[in-house]
Amino acid sequence: MDQPILEMKNINKAFNGIPVLKDVNFSVKKGEVHALMGGNGAGKSTLMKILTGVYTADSGEISIEGKPVSIKSYEEAQKNNISMIFQEFSLIPTLTVAQNIFLTREKKTGMGLLDDKDCEKKTEKLLEELGVDIKPSDIVQNLGVGYWQMTEIAKALSQEAKILIMDEPTSSLTKNETEVLFGFINKLKAKGYSIIYISHRMDEIFQICDRITILRDGRYITTETCSETTLDTVIQHIVGMEFDQAFEWKERSYATDVPPIFEVRNLTARKVQDINLKIQPGEIVGIAGLMGSGRTELLRNLFGIDPIESGEIYVNGQKQTIKNPRNAIDSGLALIPEDRRMQGLVLEHSVKDNMILPILSKVKKGTFIDNKKSNDISNEFVRKLNIKTDHIFKQARLLSGGNQQKIVLAKWLANDPTVLMLDEPTIGVDIGAKTEIVDIIRAMAESGKAILVVSSELPELLALSDRVIVMHDGKIKKEITRKEIKSEEELQYAIQGF
């Protein structure tokens, strides 16, 4: 019991010479739920990818039950009884639960045909043992998401997994489903399985976990026992003491005596409820919240991607009807989406073609696109935003993350929006470009626009916002002016719902 079932020692990993893990230690005992925590970029997912064979560590040791092992592929991880529980991507939706669990491992009858009865019987036993209330013959796509995970866990256990890795397992679950999952995790624990639990939700971690290991900036910080530590200590370890100069907040002034330039009244949609929001010209409002709190969904509703059930949107005091992104653009809204590669850019197109996409009607000469005008606009933005590209005809996919994000920004700035909404504007961007993007957003605000930023990076949110709105379960839980926020910890508390 005392010997850890899993031990990772002095793990180092660098990408392109930039270290992301520095001498990280991590150990898990048999029959414990062990939380792995840290801010974005702390190295949690890299560490887990090394454990599951997606990446190979540059140096360091992994041992299972005291024996050193080498894991170079996911198959090898499975052989070493390690299984990653993917949220919903590793099941075949059109097959039954039993067919999924025993896929490629089915028992055959004497004639070499599949013995489905045997699979279903084994599955029934497995599900009964785990106390999961589904039938082996249920088709997966007809089950709720909560059951998908349990099916996956059952599958992992049928493959002799002893260490399960769960990454934000509750992010797509309802409260009830979460309770059921926790009951299930406790059962697994009692049976001696070990679970590595990755999550940002402190309340859940304190509810379900035995120990917490914290990483920060690629370094191992500490391992705490849940029953002996406090929320304060954990938050402090996650946040650290260093203060990034580039992200220092400057108090800004904006007009408060004029009517709001952007207003949302009683907006309700599938994932958000009763949202009321006013933004002054020149004001930057940050939205904080956990994944699944409704922050991204709100932006999608405002931009007409997902339908609104009720509520009103006003720009410059005028009521707007937004049924699709085209309406939103015409109303003066712009959205920099979360995933620039999937939603923000046409990667195969040139820098220029990407930039002029939303303003095609403005650069037309008669029926055709005015080449000179569109080239001029593109060149101007390349210069203004300091986009590092050889020329405006280069394919967007050839540029670095930071420069790609600047193209997305340029794309919308060219359209001169009244309200600029940004979802995780600096995700996956290096620190230099991050600072530049923060500056661009500030400059936009200076020119009198309303800015709405969603970010899970609190330092960034604190550096930018004049006011922070905290969302939880699709509702606005709290509204704080920047001046009232004394520290990152305080905001962290608010986000966690305390």
Partner: protein
């Protein structure tokens, strides 16, 4: 806790109803078509044993290709080249017979041709990673051209009576050999899809390719196999055309891809992969054969038949798509 578990009952998926309805629509439609023609064409001999067996004879080639196509579509791919393969195979088979290689020679020639094209399709889809729609659109044209070129568009007559009996016009007692071909391959295909690990892996690949790969399914190998399957069956279909018409001809199988895909989709196989049914496919194929037959008896010509087939495909896919939406 207990009460919470019950709160979490499986969501009754509203999609489910549409789904099942979609799966059975082909059976109702088939019965409907039969009844319709039986009434409207009662004086024209539609409902005679002779005509019904005729439908089976005329449908055999489509049915065999549709069986193999069910596997291709179940993996989420498509094969447009089946008609062209049938044309070329009928010619290669006929040439082999003409050259004196006998029935076995003709069989190897015809089926071998299909396998070679299937291999090319499969390798281009899996190794070069070109979408199957484009690959088979290309081979559809190229193979058709090849079939026209090989004899300079001239038909190749087949005088081997045994070949014509086995692959075409023969009857064993009251049963046409073409019916036997259809039944035998339907049984094989059904068992293969439902009861073997190959079939399960085909459905898994189409259901979620990434997940299938993570579960240890060699998805590329599966895809290669299903294209070999359509190649093989289209090659055999070419020989059945040759046997029934006593000749190899470049124009055989023209437009068959339309009927074949319509049969599969009508039968309830999902164009998006992951769901496939052999019984549905065969009923879909018989239904298309029946419609063709009925329209001919009604006096409509080929062009009008094509219009109706095209509309049927679009309707079938529209129903399928409606059911897929969440």
């Amino acid at each position: 806790m207990q009460s919470k578990v019950s709160n979490l009952q499986k969501q009754e998926n509203p999609v489910l109803k549409g789904f099942e309805w979609r799966n059975y629509i082909v059976y109702f439609a088939f019965v409907g078509v039969l009844i319709y023609f039986s009434i409207t064409l009662s004086d024209d001999g539609f409902l005679t044993t002779g005509n019904l067996l005729n439908i089976v004879r005329q449908t055999a080639t489509i049915s065999l290709m549709a069986l193999a196509m069910t596997f291709v579509i179940s993996t989420g791919e498509i094969d447009l080249s089946v008609g062209s393969i049938a044309a070329l195979s009928s010619l290669v088979g006929a040439l082999a017979l003409q050259a004196g290689y006998g029935i076995i020679g003709g069989l190897i020639g015809g089926v071998g041709t299909g396998l070679v094209v299937g291999l090319i399709n499969g390798l281009l889809v899996t190794k070069v990673a070109i979408p199957s729609f484009l690959v088979t659109l290309g081979t559809m044209g190229a193979i058709k051209g090849f079939a026209m070129w090989v004899t300079d568009t001239a038909p190749v007559p087949i005088v081997n009576a045994n070949f014509n009996f086995i692959f075409g016009s023969g009857d064993i007692g009251p049963i046409p050999v073409l019916l036997l071909w259809t039944v035998v391959f339907t049984v094989i295909a059904h068992v293969l899809l439902r009861k073997t690990s190959f079939g399960r892996q085909v459905l898994a690949t189409g259901g979620n390719e990434n997940a299938a790969r993570f579960s240890g399914v060699k998805t590329m190998k599966i895809k290669l196999m299903v294209f070999l399957g359509t190649g093989l069956m289209a090659g055999l279909a070419g020989l059945l055309y040759a046997g029934r018409m006593n000749a190899g001809r470049f124009s055989f199988g023209e437009g068959d891809e339309l009927s074949v895909i319509a049969a599969v989709i009508l039968g309830g196989t999902s164009l998006f992969g992951g769901v496939g049914t052999i019984i549905g496919t065969i009923v879909g194929s018989l239904m298309i054969g029946t419609i063709n037959n009925g329209l001919i008896i009604m006096g409509l010509d080929v062009s009008q038949q094509m219009i109706i087939k095209g509309i049927i495909i679009i309707l079938a896919v529209a129903f399928g798509k409606k059911a897929m939406k969440r």
